[in-house]
């Protein structure tokens, strides 16, 4: 990939980190709120988080490919490659699981007795999976 100016590359990386901060930080917040607050508050926070989460995930994928392009044409293999494949595989799982989580939030909003315990578990799993993605990114960046 033809490199942009250094400033533009830094901007893409900053956007990538910011998007993960929104996804992971929001996940922790939604988890904490669903653990302690009432159903109404939980669903209000969950709905806001879902909107932010999908924006953040889209931005992460978009800027992630941009960062990957900076390595082209010599995309590493070996240990880096194992971490890369694991990261993308886990990302696909997070994408599918998060679609189910969003559908759960939508159904819970319309339910007479919303299943907030399920949401709490969903946000715990999301936070855990995102933390593993960050760890894999650290392995890829620093070996």
């Amino acid at each position: 990939m033809v490199p942009l100016s250094t400033a533009a590359h830094l901007f893409v990386r900053w956007l990538h980190v910011l998007a993960m901060a929104v996804a992971l930080g929001g996940g922790v917040t939604a988890w904490a709120v669903s653990h302690t607050a009432d159903a109404e508050t939980t669903l209000a926070v969950a709905t806001t988080y879902e909107v932010a989460f999908w924006g953040a995930l889209g931005t992460l994928v978009m800027t992630g490919v941009g960062n990957l392009g900076a390595l082209a044409p010599a995309i590493p293999r070996g240990r880096w490659g194992v971490a890369f494949v694991a990261k993308l595989g886990l990302l696909l799982v997070v994408l599918g699981g998060s679609a189910v989580r969003t559908a759960t939030v939508r159904a819970a909003r319309d339910a007479t007795r919303p299943a907030t315990t399920t949401l709490e578990r969903g946000y715990a799993l999301t936070t855990l999976a995102l933390a593993v993605l960050v760890a894999l990114a650290a392995v890829m960046a620093h070996g």
């Binding site: 924006g55 490919v65 941009g66 994408l95 599918g96 939030v105 159904a107 919303p114 299943a115 399920t118």
Partner: protein
């Protein structure tokens, strides 16, 4: 209430129910889709459409050479175009389906998937035209690529419709605490 009045009242109730049924049947054609579901599914589709092929390209060693040929800003722009297109077509698809049956969901999904494929091809052709500046080559690519992109888009749309149906059904069960 006299018998005749009760009968008239029952008939009114039946008419109202019929009207409601008719409205329910017609509703998907004009219904406004849930913005959260639309946004989530569009983002999910766009991301999955990029991440899954990336894994395949890396596995066969073709990722580096592909990315080398794409400028970063062009790549970002193409992704934003795909994201926007899937948001638009997901909205149209969700307005045309109740998500309560495979056939009922897959048919409009295949149609709007084909629209997504062709529209994304047009974006790609515009990029090629601006980059290479060869209208004849772009025209040939367009003629050959249109049926292929429509077919690929329709297949992807149908596949995602089945997946989305599973996702929404699972979400409904989990969100309301219904047993499986």
């Amino acid at each position: 209430m006299a018998e005749s009045e009760r009968a008239a009242s029952d008939a009114d109730t039946a008419d109202t129910a019929d009207t409601a049924d008719t409205a329910d049947t017609a509703a998907p054609q004009t219904a406004t889709p849930d913005p959260l579901v639309r946004w989530a599914l569009a983002s999910f589709h766009a991301a999955a459409l990029l991440v899954a092929p990336l894994l395949g390209l890396y596995a066969v060693g073709a990722l580096g050479s592909l990315l080398q040929g794409v400028r970063t800003e062009v790549g970002l722009g193409l992704y934003l175009a795909l994201w926007g297109l899937t948001w638009w077509t997901n909205g149209r698809w969700l307005a045309a389906t109740r998500l309560d049956g495979v056939r009922e969901a897959v048919v409009p999904a295949a149609a709007w998937g084909a629209v997504t494929g062709v529209c994304f091809l047009l974006v790609l052709l515009l990029v090629v035209l601006l980059t290479l500046g060869e209208p004849a080559f772009v025209a040939i690519l367009g003629i050959v690529g249109t049926p292929v992109s429509a077919l690929v888009g329709a297949s992807a749309g149908a596949g995602f419709a089945v997946l989305d149906l599973l996702i929404v059904t699972l979400g409904d069960r989990l969100g309301t605490g219904e047993p499986f």
